[in-house]
């Protein structure tokens, strides 16, 4: 019979034995070595039935299909843009996925996206060698012309969003800013008042610093209400 050696939500380090026996199946952040299931990352244990997972605290962004990301245009060719999505290599946004306009041959592509522009895009394909294809066609996908982009650890994005989007809607309501949290750890904040934009950024930084602690929602709530009064 299998046996679980750790508690739910326990902090584990690489090499820790999480469970023994073939009854348990390792998923993300864990692997099998003989009879044992072993952690391969520093993170929190998550046990769901027979599946054992380690949710890492830290790391770089690894593109996945259907992720919504905020990218920065880094280069362009005659028919495509290269977009930095915080992975080692740039994603490719081809002309046909960039706009539904009729674009004449030899047109100035920088009128659409220039180098340095921030865009909200979606990952359509990631090949085995990590070539990344992006699209701008879809709801909410657009060029960002105003506001601020902040960068956080990609693993902490779920905390910024909160359960069923509770955290992010709290930030939106108290500050009156629009917020887009992308999977690659870039968060766009657009508000009418610079003061409120500043407050939203500080709230997000507070979440990042305290992402692993409990009672985070209360803490952020206090911070936001205090800040909004000033």
């Amino acid at each position: 019979m299998g046996e679980i050696k750790v508690k739910e939500k326990e902090v584990v380090t690489p090499g820790d034995i999480l469970a023994s026996g073939m009854d348990y199946i390792p998923t993300d952040g864990a692997f099998r070595d003989g009879e044992d299931v072993i952690a391969s990352q520093v993170g929190l244990v998550n046990i769901k039935g027979r599946l054992i997972k380690v949710m890492p605290f830290n790391g770089v962004y690894i593109p996945k299909m259907d992720d919504v990301v905020i990218g920065r245009v880094s280069d362009m060719t005659f028919s495509s843009w290269f977009v930095n999505v915080r992975y080692a290599y740039d994603g490719v946004l081809s002309l046909k996925d960039a706009s539904s306009d009729y674009i004449e041959r030899g047109a100035d592509l920088s009128a659409y996206f220039a180098i340095g522009d921030y865009v909200v895009a979606k990952v359509t394909k990631v090949t085995k060698s990590m070539a990344i294809d992006l699209t701008m066609k879809g709801p909410g996908l657009k060029k960002l012309t105003t506001g601020t982009v902040v960068e956080i650890t990609p693993q902490k994005v779920p905390r910024v969003v909160g359960k069923m989007g509770s955290m992010i809607s709290m930030i939106k309501e108290t500050t009156g800013c629009q917020v887009i949290a992308a999977q690659n750890g870039r968060i766009w904040i657009g508000g009418k008042e610079p003061k409120m934009e500043r407050l939203a950024i500080e709230a997000i930084q507070l979440i990042e610093e305290n992402a692993h602690k409990s009672g985070l929602t209360e803490k952020v709530k206090d911070f936001l209400t205090k800040g909004a009064k000033k």
């Binding site: 380090t13 090499g15 820790d16 520093v42 770089v60 080692a88 290599y89």
Partner: protein
């Protein structure tokens, strides 16, 4: 067998006091400090990121690249000549070999993970301290690993097997043998084994046994440091 009492009063099987800390370099993806006695190593991990020159790229896996460096003021007395040297190149290479068996970089093809190891203060056993710090920094960076790597130097001082030699012991007038060992604590696989000096088979086995016990101790220190960062003020 003249060396019975150690210069600094330690037991023969006792390591110097260890301190480990995570997240000492904020700019890096992951970082760690490991101190054993007076030897202090800082490791910072950047990546996975784009690898240049391009011919080094491996289309099926990421690469590990280590950079070992002793700071100019780190020795006791003479200034260490800064910049790469034959010695630091060799140590960078063996560090790579010591760490790569536990790393899983298969999900980052064509990239590189850079590990910068700086020795702020040195008193022998620097490559081992560097490996300990680097393995913690890699874990902190969220890179998938089969295990942490622990490293310690063992050896003979005037014919007596001791663990964790400091500089005075390495320079003992009756001669010393220095054996840096790195191993994975879970299954005891050796990933680094170097030897400087003459040693008998029996003494070697004795020294290796000492290394194994010391590595178990180091592992606890490393684990504690990694967990501490995320549990500090949780009630």
């Amino acid at each position: 067998m003249s060396y019975k009492k150690r210069f600094d009063g330690r037991k023969l099987t006792e390591t110097r006091p260890m301190i480990a800390k995570i997240g000492v370099v904020k700019n890096a993806v992951g970082s760690a400090m490991f101190q054993i006695g007076k030897t202090r190593a800082i490791a910072a991990v950047y990546g996975p990121r784009e690898l240049h020159p391009k011919h080094l790229q491996n289309p099926s896996s990421g690469r590990l690249r280590c950079h070992y460096n002793m700071m100019a003021f780190s020795g006791s007395g003479d200034r260490v000549r800064p910049g790469p040297s034959r010695r630091s190149k060799e140590i960078s290479y063996v560090t790579e070999q010591a760490l790569s068996p536990v790393l899983d970089l298969s999900s980052f093809p064509k990239t590189v993970v850079d590990v910068y190891i700086e020795l702020v203060q040195t008193d022998a056993g620097t490559r081992c301290a560097g490996i300990c710090a680097a393995s913690m920094a890699l874990a902190d960076a969220g890179i998938r690993m089969k295990d942490l790597v622990t490293a310690i130097s063992v050896g003979l001082v005037a014919g007596t097997a001791v663990v964790d030699l400091d500089y005075d012991e390495e320079a003992h007038e009756e001669g010393a043998v220095d054996i840096p060992v790195a191993m994975t604590p879970r299954d005891g696989q050796i990933t680094l084994l170097q030897l400087d000096g003459d040693i008998s088979k029996e003494d070697f086995a004795k020294a290796l046994k000492l290394a194994k016990d010391a590595c178990a101790e180091i592992y606890e220190v490393q684990k504690q440091a990694l967990k501490e960062k995320y549990t500090e003020d949780k009630k």
